[in-house]
Symmetry: D4
Subunit: 215 residues, 8 copies
Amino acid sequence: QRRGIPEAILAEGKSVAQVVELAATALETTDRALITRASDEQIDALESHSESTATTLERRGTTVLMQTPDYEQLSLEATVGIVTAGTVDGPVADEAEAVCADAGATIDRVDDVGVAALDRTLDQVERFREADVLIVAAGREGALPTVIAGLVDTPVIGVPVSSGYGYGGDGEAALAGMLQSCTVLSVVNIDAGFVAGAQAALLARTVSNARSDGP
Amino acid sequence: QRRGIPEAILAEGKSVAQVVELAATALETTDRALITRASDEQIDALESHSESTATTLERRGTTVLMQTPDYEQLSLEATVGIVTAGTVDGPVADEAEAVCADAGATIDRVDDVGVAALDRTLDQVERFREADVLIVAAGREGALPTVIAGLVDTPVIGVPVSSGYGYGGDGEAALAGMLQSCTVLSVVNIDAGFVAGAQAALLARTVSNARSDGP
Amino acid sequence: QRRGIPEAILAEGKSVAQVVELAATALETTDRALITRASDEQIDALESHSESTATTLERRGTTVLMQTPDYEQLSLEATVGIVTAGTVDGPVADEAEAVCADAGATIDRVDDVGVAALDRTLDQVERFREADVLIVAAGREGALPTVIAGLVDTPVIGVPVSSGYGYGGDGEAALAGMLQSCTVLSVVNIDAGFVAGAQAALLARTVSNARSDGP
Amino acid sequence: QRRGIPEAILAEGKSVAQVVELAATALETTDRALITRASDEQIDALESHSESTATTLERRGTTVLMQTPDYEQLSLEATVGIVTAGTVDGPVADEAEAVCADAGATIDRVDDVGVAALDRTLDQVERFREADVLIVAAGREGALPTVIAGLVDTPVIGVPVSSGYGYGGDGEAALAGMLQSCTVLSVVNIDAGFVAGAQAALLARTVSNARSDGP
Amino acid sequence: QRRGIPEAILAEGKSVAQVVELAATALETTDRALITRASDEQIDALESHSESTATTLERRGTTVLMQTPDYEQLSLEATVGIVTAGTVDGPVADEAEAVCADAGATIDRVDDVGVAALDRTLDQVERFREADVLIVAAGREGALPTVIAGLVDTPVIGVPVSSGYGYGGDGEAALAGMLQSCTVLSVVNIDAGFVAGAQAALLARTVSNARSDGP
Amino acid sequence: QRRGIPEAILAEGKSVAQVVELAATALETTDRALITRASDEQIDALESHSESTATTLERRGTTVLMQTPDYEQLSLEATVGIVTAGTVDGPVADEAEAVCADAGATIDRVDDVGVAALDRTLDQVERFREADVLIVAAGREGALPTVIAGLVDTPVIGVPVSSGYGYGGDGEAALAGMLQSCTVLSVVNIDAGFVAGAQAALLARTVSNARSDGP
Amino acid sequence: QRRGIPEAILAEGKSVAQVVELAATALETTDRALITRASDEQIDALESHSESTATTLERRGTTVLMQTPDYEQLSLEATVGIVTAGTVDGPVADEAEAVCADAGATIDRVDDVGVAALDRTLDQVERFREADVLIVAAGREGALPTVIAGLVDTPVIGVPVSSGYGYGGDGEAALAGMLQSCTVLSVVNIDAGFVAGAQAALLARTVSNARSDGP
Amino acid sequence: QRRGIPEAILAEGKSVAQVVELAATALETTDRALITRASDEQIDALESHSESTATTLERRGTTVLMQTPDYEQLSLEATVGIVTAGTVDGPVADEAEAVCADAGATIDRVDDVGVAALDRTLDQVERFREADVLIVAAGREGALPTVIAGLVDTPVIGVPVSSGYGYGGDGEAALAGMLQSCTVLSVVNIDAGFVAGAQAALLARTVSNARSDGP
Ligand SMILES: Nc1ncnc2c1ncn2[C@@H]1O[C@H](COP(=O)(O)O)[C@@H](O)[C@H]1O
Ligand SMILES: Nc1ncnc2c1ncn2[C@@H]1O[C@H](COP(=O)(O)O)[C@@H](O)[C@H]1O
Ligand SMILES: Nc1ncnc2c1ncn2[C@@H]1O[C@H](COP(=O)(O)O)[C@@H](O)[C@H]1O
Ligand SMILES: Nc1ncnc2c1ncn2[C@@H]1O[C@H](COP(=O)(O)O)[C@@H](O)[C@H]1O
Ligand SMILES: [Mg+2]
Ligand SMILES: [Mg+2]
Ligand SMILES: [Mg+2]
Ligand SMILES: [Mg+2]
Ligand SMILES: [Mg+2]
Ligand SMILES: [Mg+2]
Ligand SMILES: [Mg+2]
Ligand SMILES: [Mg+2]
């Protein structure tokens, strides 16, 4: 029995009926369903399902978390810092936050500290240092994870965001920049908030276990 | 004072004299120098320097670790698993191993368990589960990190290796595959053994600290 | 007279009138018409045509098979296994299935055995071994054909599916991964269910003939 | 026990010592070793090994086949046609031929029938029809597999060759052309003669078995 | 005064008002306006303009030719052959035909002779030989211009068409294939029917002048 | 019997022996051999062959023309203008010139008139107008064919040259620029001097025939 | 306090509410707000806000400039020349013009002087020489900045525009061409009128300061 | 007569004889020759020429400046700041420095202030502010120009350097990052130190003239 592995239903590319069915199965077997990249139509159907079955449903942008009354919320002794460069990076960070919260981690969210206004970034260094792991989402040239990783020892997971235009504007400039970073980063795919959140959750669980087990 | 941040000198693109000078400075200020992607000529010069200054020098492929007699080896209470798919992935994994060892982590190295011979992969699942974090290096289609991450809850860092030929053979097939993984991975650049090792070292330090601090 | 060559009308990029006309001609000359990638509007028009001419019409997703009462269904003594990694790969596999069924092969369809849940894949190995040829459709990183081809001697045709997002998400990660596979595969273009099905049908016909002719 | 799966040692990217060791192991366990993409230096070492151990060694370009006196040559009741467009496609086709011959198939090799001289192509149509499966290697625009597959019902495996220059000259024009073919093809990676040969060998084995089993 | 240079207004990316204004100016100064890639809305506006000013308007797909009563139609003593591989290549060839007709060349149009049905191609070789220059439009793998150029001495201009899907399906496979052609071709951009037609018109004018001037 | 089709042996990717054999065959059957992209070693071997067989051999850069005493030089009543932007475009233009000269066209060569010094370009407009067809070779941004085609009615064939560095420096910037040209051009592959020359030769032959036949 | 740095709100990818809020904040803190790439819906909301707060609002295409009555318009003693190749480049140049005007520079706008009609370009050389810095926007092959920079000593900033189609038609041909320019240019991203305008404004301010300070 | 336009001979791709001849002509007509990207062999030949003609020769890496005794060194009242991120960016910055020095600008060079050690960058902000224009060269992810441009009002020209490895390591990550910068930059091609230097020289000349002319 694998506990703590973050699982989600990727709604994109599935029909409304398929998404509802997958969510219903997840609720039946695990008392919980996390759905990402859901369309309005898919979310409406999930809400109907939720109402008719008395499960709770929480929506954050295109991410939906459903739980039955039997669900026991996990709780980890570990903090995930989630940082965005600008307004447009919000939805991707939201996806990551939903997964980490679902996994029971404490979240410390810091928004709008992109490198164009470096003072705001530098002001937050202490908060960045207190997290066990950092998720940093940034579009355009994606320099923020590099700059933060150069300031702190906390491990940083970079998330490139498709918020630019022109050459490299679909997130490939940010992805390439993070892969080439002259500081130490690991990276997930463009807009892959879910994957960053899930990887951070796995790390938070490892740290939490270490903390519980003690020396 | 930042302790435990993995630092290294990337020898590629620098002259022999530049590499030796940078290593000498590192030895003076930190009693240690880690040099990656060194050419034979650069390594010869580092060996001469080592002999004339009575520092130790250890070489693993193109990676060189130098320490003065004053260097205090760090020691972490955490294990990094390092896994390769095939023979050609060895040198990239060696680079990661050098960094993690230097950072004081326990290393568990598992070689040649690529998905073409799935039995060998499955045989090692228990070892994979015991690591605090896994580095998995694979070239060609780079499927190994995906398969391992589907079998265990340990966080996996994938390292694409440029060991193929034809379309995507310079490591881009493996990179794209790891970024698209249907299991949960974070990724570093093609052949970036150092970055994977350094990120694993940061994670190992976090876990080790958690273990020391206890509940 | 070439018998058994799979032929189809690719509806994409053609007007409704053109598709109906091409189908009518095919029905007149061969008592059969196979139309792929048809839009709803194109299918409506084909249905009208079918009703007014008393041909049968069978629809599977965007693939349409029409036959006159005179059509003699081919039958081959050979089995094509058709395998999908996940829900979103279904329509592409459906296209392949329509062509193979039309060619008279026995179909063995296995769905949802992607590598993220390797147990389900391993459970089906015996079925994979019994097919004469396997079509394996997978999106994201496209690792399933590689894993299956490493487990069985049956020839595998990989079909990359455009079901991802971010870098390589339009099917190019899966395509590159299958071309770089460290096991033995041949490959068709992204989403090219028709081509995979037609190639499998040619192989099934060759095997069926060999079986009929005997030793 | 998997019989008949084509296996080979890809020498590229390995040291001389590693290649010899892998070959020695293969000879010990299977009485046979097939080495592809070997350098002159690697081949010299294999020849030394061969002489000192009294195994036979046969070389075709950069492909080497070694067998112990105990090796029992397989024999299949099936023919693989191997076709090249031009002189420069020869070595890639040779690699395919080595694998198929090793697997026991009958080979029918047709060289230099590229589409620039279409008469020569058309002259061979009957031979193409008699093969159970065709491997067609072509560089530049890679049109030959498309043209042949339009003329015969025999299944065709296209092998793009990196024999061009300028835009797409590294084999990507040929690869893209084969993937976009308006006739029915499956494809392997650029210059992947081994994969094409191994896939053809699997198909030949399937056909041969069907022929033996009879109706 | 430059006579005979083909000029056209590219409607794509311009507002309705801009297109009408540019057409009006062309009609005033040259008694003629050729508009390509016009949207339905742009064509409606051009038709209104045409009616209110008593100019003639001829539409071929998205290409529109307008002439005042004063326009003197040019006439060249030269023939442009225009060939398509399949139905979907029609609109691109139409654009080329509009330009050549406007320039006064004789047009010989041959449709649907793609290489998947090589007999139909071979049947037309004599017609291809009689043209002074050939425009050959083909999508998918774009092999038709290569095959035709290998059969005749007439100069061939290849036009890649964006009629595929998957890897290279936006016309890049066809473009790359034509640039790599092992026969002699010159090429225009993807879907650039206008450019092919205009280049053919320049050549036809050169040939026509040579014919008029005589030996 | 196809007369006047330019044929050449592409030496690149062939062994010395293969090139000599292909040249010998061409000399025997057509009294002439044109070899392009020959290495020094290949040229040495061709020179030895030439001496031992009393054929003439003329070398222009990496292009070699051999003729037996029986060869009847063709002569066309048509002029091909060959224009280069800078010094580094010379060898590509030389290849084109060799083919056109071999085909019997009159050559008018104009060197070093790149757009950075526009006066020199403008000074030659009259010469450009007198050619029947123009070949314009340019690297870097490849703007010269566009500028010339805007100044004259003569048909222009653009040849992109791989003379840059950085992004697009392998000739792809020039290729893309010529394909996007806002004037009328047809284009050949990067560095494809032979193809440009051969296409110009076909056009020159057509014009020459028209001139001979007269009105 | 940084004065004169051009700042703008990039509306693309933001919600209507977010854009209005960011504009309101900018107006409060700096008495001015510049919004780029605004949708019709976003502009409507900004107009409502403007009316209800008695700020002025000026719209140029998708660029919006809002100012409170307290705003003190800057004025620079420097001229920015803004040049377009064709009609479709207008909106990108408008964006640049809005920024430069906002920064207080004198603007000299020259439209429709693309290289296809070189006379019109040459006619304006004196105006180009009188500017302190030139912004030159061009799509398709993007040759205009190269040609202008070869004629004058004024520094030129090239702006590639995504106005083409086919290979490189999304602005990448123009971008690559400007980066490869054989004259001296610096470049901004595709369609990045704002960035070109802002860079020119910084330069204009530097020149204006130099002029004010005197010798 | 164009004064002050930076001109140089790009040695790459030219023969030794061609480079010497071009340098000799430049010396004769302008008393000066600037040669970039020269090989050792080319530099040797230039040195021989220099000695035999009593011109001075100064070499900085692969850049060579030659002057006759008659040459009058220009002098500008303007400062160009030249900044590098790391050791490997040095040669590219050297090329820029040679051009600016030749043009008569004052140079302020700041090395090794890459974002991985942000303190060192922040320490230099005042120097950055005092320059009239800044050239900032950076490889890997190329974040330095973005960070500096966010801190100062001085116009910044970014130069991407090809100093990475893996995905985007040939300078394309840095180029894309600079084009996507969320601060204001203009950019030159990868490794194009000459172009950055020449553009800065044009700007310095404009500023210097403004300073001389005064208010
Ligand atoms: N937003 C997302 N991005 C990436 N992977 C996801 C996302 N949401 C779910 N997944 C994972 O994608 C895999 C395939 O999901 P599904 O197609 O729903 O079976 C599962 O392992 C999910 O955990
Ligand atoms: N879905 C499909 N994918 C790839 N090829 C197809 C598909 N459907 C039909 N084809 C083939 O595409 C070729 C061109 O089809 P058409 O444009 O209908 O003449 C024919 O040889 C068809 O057999
Ligand atoms: N020339 C080749 N091209 C592609 N794959 C090959 C080649 N030669 C061997 N292989 C296969 O590549 C895989 C990895 O080979 P190795 O790295 O030697 O373990 C094995 O499954 C081999 O069968
Ligand atoms: N059209 C534009 N193109 C590029 N950058 C812009 C544009 N408009 C605003 N910006 C800049 O983009 C950065 C991010 O903008 P914002 O997302 O609004 O905070 C700011 O520094 C703006 O100055
Ligand atoms: Mg750090
Ligand atoms: Mg896992
Ligand atoms: Mg297998
Ligand atoms: Mg066929
Ligand atoms: Mg021909
Ligand atoms: Mg012209
Ligand atoms: Mg200039
Ligand atoms: Mg700034």
